[in-house]
């Protein structure tokens, strides 16, 4: 069910930027064809998230509010660091970075 890294075609227009892996949490996989990880090419965290949102518009609507800001019940980490404590969406990426999306869950 889960695809391996690199199985998603890269957008042809993205000739610059880093190749990074975006980990999709269980709660959001239903909006991304059940994939658990996506590989994209992007210069910044925001660009990477918008690229996966372009591929999966329903996912975009989950990540971004109507005013186009990231939703506050979702945390985005580049490797182990929260982009809120880096440069938010402008946080620069380098090859092999991993972006983890962590929405709030409440089960117990």
């Amino acid at each position: 069910m889960n695809s391996s890294p690199g199985t998603n075609p890269l957008p042809r227009s993205a000739t610059e930027g880093a190749t990074v892996t975006v980990l999709i949490p269980t709660a959001l996989r239903r909006f991304a064809a059940q994939q658990s990880r996506l590989e994209v090419r992007a210069c910044s965290a925001g660009e990477a998230l918008r690229e996966i949102g372009r591929q999966y518009p329903q996912l975009h609507a989950q990540l971004f509010a109507a005013n186009d800001s990231l939703r506050r019940f979702i945390n985005i980490f580049v490797n182990s660091r929260n982009i809120r404590e880096l440069q938010q969406e402008e946080t620069a990426l380098t090859d092999l970075d991993t972006i983890t999306i962590l929405p709030a869950i409440a089960g117990g």
């Binding site: 949490p25 269980t26 709660a27 239903r30 909006f31 329903q58 989950q62 939703r71 506050r72 019940f73 945390n75 980490f77 182990s80 660091r81 929260n82 809120r84 404590e85 983890t100 962590l102 929405p103 709030a104 869950i105 409440a106 089960g107 117990g108």
Partner: protein, 392 residues
């Protein structure tokens, strides 16, 4: 090094029986007699005696935490037994609180287990939590998560947090020693319906077992002051990949509760904060019409044209369904709705009536005029009409 929790007392000297009981702790240099007496003197409040609370409670009791308060109001359902290891088949229908207290006291007669049979809410949370040294949050919904966080911040109590969804769990320690609170991490709750509950989305039974045991470990470390605490660290466990990952988190200076200039100084209305019931009021003109099971049965029997739409998941559809229904999972409704005939009335149903109300609302927004939702869902249908169907 983990700092001791404030206010925790060193318990009385250990009896001969206690020394035998805790011998495997006493011979660990990091715990020893002093650590065990700290456990004996500690007061921990366990909120929720379910999937997380079962293993957390068992290990806190086994470890000798001197006073364990338990808050729960629920009764035991057979579907709890797949993960709530405090209970057995003979307990079905009984009070979780009573069974949990009996089980923990049987496990360790040297501790006090204090029952609090009530639903924690903004009117009682501060009084419930105040006498305890720390809270272990084993609840299962966003309003209570925020309520516990806020009460812990206002009272200055550490909050040992875990939550689970299917195969994933999150774990951290909030509001301890200058670290972040839950609101620093998640300032706003997700909209209602975003993150299905365990009842709606399912949970891998052993997952809360792992996370609840980790909560107990963290609480015991805090009480005894050993090791490195989870302050400022968020741990994500993925049981499918069998991977733990750690993320750095920190106090948000802008946090409305624990920031540099807090704007919230008391508890609030958490249901409305989390949007529970939003738009479902009596004046809600967008509310879908409800049809009860007997009305639906009559309409189906009369063979008048009707599109019966099951908006649950394919897995739920395979367990039980109403004959003649078409499967259109709520998440896929947007892409599948085009195949519906706008000239034929629609009835949506799910397990309990919540998802189908959302589906009906969505279809109405797309211009379908005659849309209704089965009140009480398949559960009511099974009770009132088709007794042979499985309730899951």
């Amino acid at each position: 090094m983990t700092s001791f929790i404030q206010g925790a007392a060193l318990g009385a000297e250990l009896s001969r029986q206690e020394i035998q009981h805790y011998s495997r702790h006493l011979i660990i240099p990091e715990i020893g007699i002093d650590g065990q007496r700290r456990l004996k003197g500690a007061k921990v409040l366990l909120v929720g005696a379910g999937g997380l609370g079962s293993p957390a409670g068992l290990y806190l009791a086994a470890a000798g935490v001197g006073t364990i308060g338990i808050v729960d109001f629920d009764t035991i359902d057979v579907s709890n037994l797949q993960r709530q290891i405090l209970y057995s088949v003979a307990d079905v229908g009984a009070s979780k609180l009573e069974c949990a207290v009996t089980r923990l006291k049987a496990m360790n007669p040297h501790i006090d287990v204090v029952p609090h049979r009530q639903r924690i809410d903004a009117s009682n949370a501060l009084d419930l939590i105040a006498p305890y040294d720390l809270v272990v949050d084993g609840t299962d919904n966003f309003p209570t998560r925020y309520l516990i966080n806020d009460a812990c911040v206002l009272l200055g109590k550490p909050n040992v947090y875990a939550s689970v969804f299917r195969f994933e769990g999150l774990l951290s320690l909030f509001n301890h020693d200058g670290g972040p609170c839950y609101r620093c991490l998640y300032p706003d709750p997700p909209p209602e319906g975003f993150a299905p509950s365990c009842a709606e989305g399912g949970v891998f039974g052993v997952l809360p077992g792992i996370l609840g045991a980790l909560q107990a470990a963290e609480a015991i470390k805090l009480i005894t002051g050993v090791g490195s605490s989870l302050k400022g660290r968020l741990v994500r466990f993925d049981a499918l990949d069998m991977q733990f990952k750690e993320f750095a988190i920190s106090r948000d200076p802008e946090c409305c509760l624990c920031g540099d200039r807090p704007t919230q100084h008391q508890l609030i209305d958490y249901a409305s904060f989390c949007g529970i019931g939003a738009g479902a009021g009596a004046d809600d003109s967008n509310a879908p019409r409800l049809v009860d099971p007997s009305q639906l049965k009559a309409r189906l029997d009369s063979k008048t044209p009707l599109q019966l739409i099951d908006v649950r998941s394919v897995e739920e559809f395979r367990i039980a369904r109403i004959e003649g229904a078409r499967l259109m999972p709520l998440d896929e409704l947007e892409s599948l709705a085009g195949s519906l005939d706008p000239s034929v009335p629609l009835v949506c149903y799910c397990k309990s009536g919540i998802r189908s109300a959302r589906a009906a609302r969505y279809l109405m927004s797309r211009g379908y005029g005659d849309v209704s939702s089965l009140a009480g869902g398949l559960v009511s249908w099974t009770k009132e009409i088709e007794h042979a169907s499985s309730i899951y």
